[in-house]
């Protein structure tokens, strides 16, 4: 492969706190040179970045690709297409498919489909319990050998404390990360929306905010007892985030992510039963939204992930309580996160940190940094470009986004995976 030179860029690398004008050379799928004084060698293909931002490609650690089993909603290939259009160069698939990713052959299947698509890098979780039914441990060691990057039951909480204790203990052998859906299931059972004034007025059965903190508090005890590695997925409440903050202060091996919907929206979006904002966990009151922003700002929340959850029309065109929870997010992850910077809540490098090096380190991936020898997984983006979301332009097979028609600021111009341009935005 010949050398490609990206010149006249604003280089942004949260791993080294680099923010400078300069250039970057790619050779053989890896970063060969980087810095303010990079010049293109003779014969290199030259890309003039026109002053746009060049950063590590985003690593989205929560994606429901729906394959195998619900290919009418999304496939690994269509999700990967959406990913690169959103500047995501690595996506991590959740295992709650049909069948669940709970044996090594299925891990191989997902990774194979990802390679065939040839767009973003596709990684996968494996189920923590067989068939994600919460009773028996899945083969953590063999699944890891087959390529599973971490373990979770996806949208289901590991409910049984004995099982969670054993999982954390057993996983230590493999230094495997366990990702929890932090919600006490009995508190959330049958719940349609956050329990509060809004749910009471709308007559929707409520999921109290403390369902999250309760599960996290229990799990922190188990993490402390076992010394396991624990990650809380899509945290959404101030109380839950406070539990994680305290656990980190005590030195526990605990991390957390949230999704843009939890810092961009609050429960009022439900309005007259808009099923597009039925989520799990549910959208919370404004005070929780602010707490999520604060958690991101002070680093309690390590990672921003899209929680991309495609659903076809028939899963959403239903009474609120019957609609499937979740929204698509791969293509809005970057602009919604950049809004944290535009609104003065987080420094630009801190926003990017939560999308790149933080998930890379958490998951043990070599990507997520602009360093010599690192994989040339990059996103070139316009930080300021105003645009409006148009449902019809989503690459995802499903279009369930509550952000349709919303004004956004900033988007990916070009996405490079292993040195190869896999997405270029048409002007």
């Amino acid at each position: 492969m010949s050398v490609t030179a990206f010149l006249n860029a604003r280089l942004l690398d949260p791993a080294t706190n680099l923010d400078t004008k300069g250039g970057l050379l790619i050779d053989g799928g890896v970063i060969a040179e980087i810095g303010p004084n990079v010049k293109a060698p003779a014969g290199a293909e030259i890309v003039d970045c026109g002053g746009a931002c060049l950063a590590p490609g985003l690593i989205d650690m929560r994606v429901h690709a729906r394959e195998p089993g619900e290919e009418y909603k999304e496939t690994i290939a269509t999700a990967a297409g959406a990913a690169v259009a959103g500047g995501v160069t690595t996506m991590v698939c959740l295992p709650n498919t049909m069948p669940a990713i709970d044996n090594p052959a299925l891990v191989g299947f997902v990774l194979q489909r990802g390679r065939e698509a040839g767009l973003a890098h596709v990684q996968t979780y494996a189920a923590l319990t067989q068939n994600t039914d919460g009773h028996k441990l899945a083969e953590i060691g063999l699944l890891q050998e087959a390529g599973a990057i971490a373990f979770t039951d996806g949208t289901k909480a590991i409910d049984d404390p004995v099982l969670m204790r054993r999982a954390l203990t057993y996983a230590k052998t493999f230094n495997a990360l366990i990702v929890q859906h932090p919600e006490e299931p009995r508190m959330a059972k049958g719940g349609e929306a956050h329990a509060g004034e809004l749910s009471a007025r709308l007559g929707l059965s409520g999921i109290p905010g403390i369902a999250e903190a309760m599960m996290l508090e229990r799990d922190m005890r188990l993490v402390e007892m076992t010394g396991g590695r624990y990650h809380a997925g899509h945290v959404s409440t101030g109380e839950g985030i406070e539990v994680i903050r305290r656990a980190k202060a005590r030195g526990l091996r605990v991390t957390a992510d949230t999704a843009p919907q939890y810092f961009a929206l609050n429960e009022n979006e439900i309005g007259e039963y808009r099923t597009f904002v039925r989520l799990s966990p549910p959208l919370r009151p404004e005070s929780d939204r602010l707490a999520v922003v604060q958690g991101l700002a002070d680093g309690t929340i390590d990672v921003i992930a899209s929680d991309h959850a495609p659903h076809d029309q028939e899963s959403k065109r239903l009474p609120f309580g019957q609609a499937e929870p979740g929204i698509i997010g791969l293509e809005t992850l970057l602009p919604l996160s950049l809004a944290l910077h535009h609104n003065g809540k987080l420094a630009l490098l801190d926003v990017l940190r939560r999308l790149t090096i933080a998930p890379a380190e958490l998951l043990g991936l070599p990507a997520g940094r602009l360093a010599k020898g690192a994989p040339a997984d990059l996103v070139l983006f316009d930080l300021d470009k105003p645009w409006r979301v148009e449902e019809i332009k989503f690459r995802s097979t499903s279009k369930n986004s509550p952000f349709d028609n919303r004004p956004m600021q900033g988007h990916a111009l070009r996405t490079i995976v292993a040195g190869r341009t896999v997405f270029t935005r048409k002007a």
Binding site: E192, R201, G203, L204, G321
Partner: protein, 317 residues
Amino acid sequence: MTASAPSRFPHRHILGIEGMSPVEIGTLLDLAEGYIDVSTRKEKLGTLHGRTVMNLFFEDSTRTRTSFELAALRLGADVINMAVANSSVKKGETLIDTALTLHAMHPDVLIIRHPNSGAPHLLAQKLGCSVINAGDGSHEHPTQALLDALTIRRRKGTIAGLTVAICGDVAHSRVARSNIHLLQTMGARVRVVGPPTLMPPAIDRFGVEVFHDMKKGLTGCDIVMMLRLQLERMDGAFVPSLREYSHFYGLDHEMLAAAKPDALVMHPGPLNRGIEISTEVADEIDRSLILQQVEYGVATRMACLEAVVATLAEAGK
């Protein structure tokens, strides 16, 4: 159409009381008042002649469905009853598909009852006809609140200034929500009475007074409005037992004595006699309005049908 266009009710749908203005509620009550005599004389009017009203009930409800049916017939409409509770929906058809199928038969008004909160709103967004909510999940039951208001107004002359206690399973009750909104909008003071497990979250944000001691809650009340208990919730899930519930929250003469001497008793029916209400209280001619409620239900629904159809007519539909 010859409907006397009630332009003070400019809505095509009646999905809930929340958000209705006092003028709009007053307009519906005045219209209903005019229909009480029609209803008693069993007269048949032509106001809705040529209009089709469709009852779409996803939950069994003899009284509300019959009441709507009678109201529509008295106004001269054609009425279709779809007992969806045991038809194609059980074969996996979605609400929207069912509604679109029925819509192809060109109803003017769709009356819907559904176990999910917000189901009527979904239909109102997707269909071109008028939608009247006949009860959705734990959300609203607007025509019940209107008929309750009509009943109160006729007996007490006014709603403003009255103190009304709504007693029982407020958490799961659409009747309670609609009545809270309506009574407060019309100037009444509303109390809710029941065990804390049967109160919705953030009930204090509804502008009501909350009582867990029923005697205290009834003290000084003009109206005692009992809610129907869903018996399946009384088996240890929300309260320990029926007999414990009825001991502390059942309305009998002794309990009623805490309210004003001329306090009136209401219940949306059907009654669980001997549980939330004693037979003596339910049947006491002077104080129980339960049968009037049923009677005025027809007049109220006639008013609602006329009002939404008049809005349709104004829009040239």
